[in-house]
Assembly symmetry: C2
Homo-oligomer: 346 residues x 2
């Protein structure tokens, strides 16, 4: 389409700083005939303290009318744990049925990895985004007493599991290696595990070219550091995906580079793109935040909206920028944004 109506939620901590750079690169990469209309939403800790509001219904309804959402980061130590995460970030993922939480991991040449030997890493995690232990089911009985019982319920449906598994097969099928690994813990979580595994096996029969593999989540973390090159596409539940993608980010140059898309493949709702990192309140305002993860999330956003050439230009710019960083003095958030904006226009 020749216009992009973008909702922007800078959010908390470094969110605002990195989103500014994402928008800078987005404006720079877009051809002049694509009209970019951005609308900023003031949501997060500041708003919560000022008005008590987290995500009012009117704003949720309004967000729906955009082509996509760019989000910085949500969460602040001044707000009790979970209030903003569940009331805002997860509420958006659930309300807009972002059932594919897509998180690519690639070790670019020249970037730092804690792993010896610099393995060849290039995989993508398809994390389920609307079910599992993230549903908010659960509760607490006799709270705060010596007899408290607190529960958390992981909810998994045939619909929810099948659609994300199918999406993952499609992605695996489209990649050169055509390999899909299911990660779960079906030797302990037998009910959910059985649903995931049987769905994985059944849908797999429709994709005879895709090689499949199953790993328990604990074993998957081992391979992530000893043999990450074995992964091509991983499909997993919401919580295991959360854990694995932070670890994946750590081994592929750090959380400063990890992009993500919360995708509603049906197109009924806008998809939302955000860096995997959090609001990092400890470095907010210092100019130390690396905006690259947000810029790469903008590339995912562009690809999702059909602007493949522009997405690729951003990714090339990031790869070149990372290669050029070697030994150079550290830059500010703004300087990195400038460097990337320059490269995509160059």
């Amino acid at each position: 389409s020749r216009s992009i109506r973008l909702a922007v939620i800078p959010g908390d901590g470094i969110g605002r700083e990195v989103v500014a750079q994402g928008l800078k690169v987005l404006s720079a990469v877009l051809p002049s005939d694509v009209k970019l209309e951005t609308e900023e939403y003031d949501l997060g800790a500041r708003r919560y303290h000022a008005t008590g509001e987290i995500l009012p219904d009117a704003e949720l309804a309004s967000l729906k009318h955009h082509d996509a959402i760019l989000l910085g980061a949500i969460g602040d130590p001044s707000v009790p744990a979970g209030v903003l995460e569940r009331g805002l970030l997860l509420k958006l993922r659930f309300a807009f049925d972002h059932y594919v939480n897509l998180r690519p991991s690639k070790l670019f040449p020249n970037t730092a990895t804690p792993l010896a030997g610099r393995p060849d890493i290039d995989f993508v995690v398809v994390r389920e985004g609307t079910e599992g232990p993230y549903t908010g089911n659960g509760g607490s009985l006799r709270t705060g007493t010596p007899h408290e019982v607190a529960t958390e319920v992981s909810v998994n449906t045939a619909l929810g599991v099948e659609r994300v598994v199918r999406d993952a097969y499609e992605r695996a099928q489209a990649r050169p290696r055509k390999k899909l690994t299911l990660v779960h813990k079906n030797n302990v979580l037998v009910y959910a595990g059985q649903l995931w595994k049987s769905t994985f096996d059944r849908v797999g029969r429709e994709y005879p070219e895709v090689t499949t593999d199953y790993l328990h989540v604990d074993a998957a973390t081992i391979f992530m550091v000893t043999q990450p090159e074995r992964f091509d596409v991983i499909v997993t539940d919401n919580l295991f995906g959360d854990i694995l993608t932070d670890l994946a980010a750590a081994v592929t140059g750090g959380i400063g580079l990890a992009a993500s898309g919360n995708i509603n493949p049906d197109g009924a709702f806008p998809s939302m793109f955000e860096p995997v990192h959090g609001s990092a309140p400890d470095i907010a305002g210092t100019g130390k935040a690396d905006p690259t993860a947000t810029v790469l999330s903008v590339a995912m956003l562009l690809r999702h909206l059909g602007h493949e050439a522009e997405a690729a230009r951003i990714e090339t710019a990031v790869a070149e920028d990372l290669a050029a960083r070697d030994g150079a003095a550290p830059r500010t958030t703004d300087e990195t944004g400038d460097a990337l904006a320059l490269r995509v226009t160059g």
Copy 2:
């Protein structure tokens, strides 16, 4: 005590092979005046296929009368996922109230780590062993249909959380660095997270010398590979502990070295010691299994029973053996057992 009544459950896959070496080293290290009585229990896949039995009540009752249990590994591809794990391994942990699942991680000099720069790693994970997502609560509705709903319930009690948190503070207090990190995901799993965090904070007031820290489980996996030296004692729930300790094993020389104790600190039931690794059916019978994790589990067992000097002798023998391995030809399971048995007597 001058006698040890030991129950031995070799179990599946490489379990039998590594347990044989553990017993070899145990016999070698014990002074002649300590009487060792072992009783072997035939439990696992073979027994299940032969008789349909997993853990009969009579055997559970009989196991109770031992001072400790040495277990090899449980799980076999010929048995549906979860049947042996839940019916045997987890049943023992739950029946014998093994609420402290203790898993030390130490990077010995000279051992292989996938991490560049060989960080200084020496921490212990206190994993809760009798609650959380491991309780077997949950179920499936409309199983196998397009309308299936499968749930898993994490159950956390004030009693269960407090006793393991207290145990972790005691361990942190006794270590030179006196640092305790709680790992959870209290921004999403708010009910369980609130119980864990408030218990952690409240009990912590009784241990003013212990420095405390909180990490979300996803962030903890990052630090495990980028800054593992920051950890001293970690306390966490059953599932997060499962995941973190496999990752910890991977970064500290691999799963071939990781020992564990399923401890009932109250002494009401025998504690159970086992390598963290699984039954590894792919290498069973090849002589490739490294029995070191089992031998180190034997050291934990001896320490638990008050044989500190013998425990330390085994740990020294392992450290020396690892140092001597450098560049040497690979050994069989049996040869490694022999080498360790020789060192503890030498």
